[in-house]
């Protein structure tokens, strides 16, 4: 319990809670829209935004938000060019983001490399009070948007053409969703690190999808898995002195494996019981 005496650990747990609630919500929609790699792409794009900010001497967080919003709209446009292969747009922007980031880094003065490294690997325990406030504001925005748009999003991810026929502005909702996801990633990335943002967004949702059978429960279970994974990961990281982001991701992967194996065993037992 001694870890809770430290201000930085208190902030880390508060941030972990906020991330654990919003990540599975966005992650579930990403998985169901076959955009699991979008979190990766947008984090690479965020890196380009940071590199551009450092290169131009503009606040990197502000520049990242601008770049990510443009990228989120671009993803939607490119996906219309390759309608049946929407992952192509994600792949194009992912490589573009990384290349721009690397080129700008090499052009910047030496100091920016360290900052880019910080963003690339991030550490939740170094979160500042200001970052926590920003995360809290984002948390409120995501929760409100989810409560308002959960029904249109359900129909949209079930079948986009059916949603269009039902009168929904599908393109607008898709762009809004991409923008919110982009902004979330831009905010979470300096905390969790670009390499681990995707895992934190996708794994709790993927685990919840294995366990739950209803849409309502899959989100609640995803949030619960998110909180358990984040808190456990943070505690283990503190005790063992391991990097928090990587530890949290490994915890999620462990939960995923345990869940998958348990479900398999239960299915086998049920099958045997039905045959006997």
């Amino acid at each position: 319990m001694e870890m809770f005496f430290y201000g930085f650990m208190q902030r880390a747990f508060q941030a972990a809670f906020l991330i654990a609630v919003i990540s599975p919500i966005l992650g579930l929609f990403l998985v169901l829209r076959r955009q699991s790699l979008m979190a990766d792409t947008l984090s690479h794009i965020s890196l380009a935004g940071i590199a551009l900010g450092l290169f131009l001497n503009v606040n990197p967080t502000f520049m990242t938000l601008i770049v990510v919003i443009i990228a989120a709209v671009l993803i939607e446009y490119l996906s219309t060019l390759y309608k049946s292969y929407s992952e192509i747009s994600i792949a194009i922007l992912m490589s573009a983001g990384m290349s721009v980031a690397l080129v700008l880094m090499s052009l910047s003065s030496g100091g920016s490399t360290t900052t880019i490294q910080q963003y690339l690997f991030g550490s939740i325990v170094t979160i500042s009070q200001q970052q926590l406030y920003l995360l809290a504001a984002l948390f409120l925005i995501v929760i409100v948007l989810f409560l308002v748009f959960r029904r249109p999003m359900y129909v949209l991810i079930f079948d986009e053409d059916t949603a269009f026929a039902a009168g929904l502005p599908t393109r607008l909702i898709s762009i809004l969703f991409n923008v919110i996801t982009g902004v979330t990633i831009a905010v979470i990335m300096p905390i969790a690190g670009a390499l681990l943002v995707s895992a934190i967004m996708i794994l709790p949702a993927a685990i919840a999808m294995r366990i739950s059978k209803s849409f309502k429960w899959v989100i609640l279970v995803g949030i619960l898995v998110g909180i358990v994974g984040m808190f456990t990961g943070l505690t283990v990281s503190y005790e063992w002195g391991t990097p928090p982001g990587a530890t949290i991701t490994l915890i999620f992967i462990s939960i995923f494996m345990i869940t998958t194996m348990t479900i398999k065993v239960i299915q086998q037992l049920k099958y045997k019981k039905s045959r006997s």
Binding site: L28, L32, V148, R151, P152, Y154, V155, F158, D159, D161, T162, F164, A165, A166, G167, L168, A208, M209, S212, K213, S214, F215, K216, W217, V218
Partner: protein, 235 residues
């Protein structure tokens, strides 16, 4: 008034014409069936009607209002909708309830009338007992039936259905057609449906539109001529 009005519609994929000079209407209370050989661009035509594709020439319009001057609601079943993603985390009940959202419930609670519609629709396709099952765990036929239940729960003014009875047994298909016919005859619903079954056309269709391959075209292009539209009303 026409719920659907297609006028001299042509549609090209790149430079290649696949539909040419298509004209027809669907009126309130009318059951129109659309046929054509495999690859006759029937689904493409429905997608043009819905606005999912843009006609290369001519126009396809859906009325903004129904015959009571209220906003017109559309129920659409695409051809591949029964092949749900097995992992889609939703129960049968949630999916069928989602059919009610477009009746002004995107941002409002479902009320007793909505729940009654949902229950009646699920019972009409014999899926009420399976309402708490995950949709990914259903068989192909059951998935087909819940997509029909969803559209009946919506209770739309205009049904646009792309081969909705594929894989259904004869009894279920007959029940489904009776229900649709009742909707068009007694509730003034407009129905535009793609089918392959000529027996169903004879028994239920008010009008039958057949897409015929154009003989003079170097492309695999389909059209309709004066003799390819058969109307029971005028015969």
């Amino acid at each position: 008034m026409h719920y659907v009005e297609v006028k001299d519609l042509s549609f090209y994929y790149d430079e290649e014409p696949v539909l040419e000079n298509i004209s027809f209407t669907v009126d309130p209370g009318e059951f129109v069936m659309l046929t054509g050989e495999n690859g006759a661009a029937k689904s493409t035509l429905l997608r043009n009607v819905l606005g999912l594709l843009k006609p290369t020439k001519g126009s396809a319009k859906i009325s903004a209002v129904n015959n009571r001057n209220e906003p017109l609601s559309i129920g659409y079943i695409p051809q591949q909708v029964a092949s749900f993603n097995a992992g889609f985390p939703s129960t049968v009940l949630e999916l069928v309830q989602s059919g009610r959202y477009q009746r002004g419930k995107w941002f409002k609670r479902l009320d007793a009338e909505d729940h009654e519609h949902v229950e009646r629709s699920l019972k009409s396709v014999g899926m009420w007992d399976l309402r708490h099952k995950k949709i990914g765990d259903l068989s192909g036929g059951q998935k087909q039936r819940i997509s029909l239940a969803r559209i009946f729960a919506t209770d739309p003014d205009l049904f646009i259905l792309d081969e909705p009875t594929t894989g259904m047994d004869l009894d279920s298909r007959t029940e489904f057609y009776e229900l649709l016919k009742h909707n068009s005859e007694f509730h003034g619903k407009g129905i535009l449906m793609v089918t392959h079954n000529h027996e169903d056309i004879k028994n239920y269709a008010d009008r039958h539109i057949q897409l015929i391959r154009k003989e003079d075209s170097p492309w695999r292009c389909f059209s309709m001529d004066s003799c390819s539209e058969h109307s029971k009303l005028h015969s």
